[in-house]
């Protein structure tokens, strides 16, 4: 199941839901808020999602992974809200009989999720500047981390 969560994620609980005696391998990916992006210090991150479509698209990605790889289970959650350094932004967990399928599927899911989920990320910098990542346009002096004026 793929969900969008306004509440902090609990990786232990998420992983336990994948428990299955047929599984010999469990690979998880966690995306953490880090203190730097494209060389610029970051103070915090805001995530916003079109939750309904993000859930649907996430489920579609999980179904693709199940079709491509020999899995026992797969799940994912994307956090939304204002996150601080070190916070968990996205969790993906995959189980399989063998580790090759688990690694490949986990990688597939996070790659597709980053490219396809209608989720947006706004970086907050020292001094109050912010930027919606990937939304810079020519007039913003280019680059994904170009700063827009502080939000009102």
């Amino acid at each position: 199941m793929f969900t969008i969560s306004p509440a902090p994620l609990d990786p232990g609980r998420l992983q336990r839901q994948l428990g299955d005696e047929r599984a010999g391998a469990c690979v998880t990916f966690e995306g953490w808020v880090r203190n730097r992006n494209e060389g610029q210090p970051v103070l915090s991150l805001e995530y916003e999602a079109y939750a309904l479509l993000a859930g649907t698209e996430g489920e579609r990605i999980l179904a693709e992974a199940r079709a491509k790889f020999d899995l026992v289970g797969a799940a994912g959650v994307h956090r939304v809200g204002h996150l601080q350094l070190g916070d968990l932004a996205i969790w993906v967990g995959v189980t399989a009989e063998h580790r090759g399928a688990a690694f490949d599927a986990c990688r597939y899911i996070i790659d597709e999720a980053k490219a396809r989920l209608p989720v947006w990320k706004k970086e907050h910098y020292a001094g109050g500047a912010t930027a919606w990542i990937n939304c810079a346009t020519r007039g913003d002096h280019g680059g994904p981390a170009a700063t827009l004026p502080p939000a009102s």
């Binding site: 079109y50 996205i90 999720a113 980053k114 209608p118 947006w120 990320k121 990937n134 827009l148």
Partner: protein
């Protein structure tokens, strides 16, 4: 003319200054509707960087809009 409900997210929400609006438009496609709104509200993202969803499913820019549709314009995503 049709009436559509538009929902904004992220940079479009901030540039529009609101989350949802219902409006009457001569546009018959998401592409035409985006150009109309962009001209009116000064959205910085060009049309070719914005995808569209209608009634909570992705659609092509040339899909046909119908009266009562819920339309979302999707800025470049950046999850994870």
């Amino acid at each position: 003319m049709i009436s559509v409900h538009v929902q904004y997210f992220a940079i479009l929400r901030e540039q529009r200054g609101l989350t949802t609006e219902t409006l009457v438009t001569p546009a018959t496609t998401p592409a035409a509707l985006y150009e109309e709104l962009r001209a009116r509200h000064g959205f910085t993202l060009p049309a070719d960087r914005v995808r569209a969803a209608v009634n909570d499913a992705f659609v092509t820019a040339g899909a046909t809009l119908r009266d009562g549709d819920r339309v979302v314009f999707i800025p470049p995503v950046a999850g994870g």
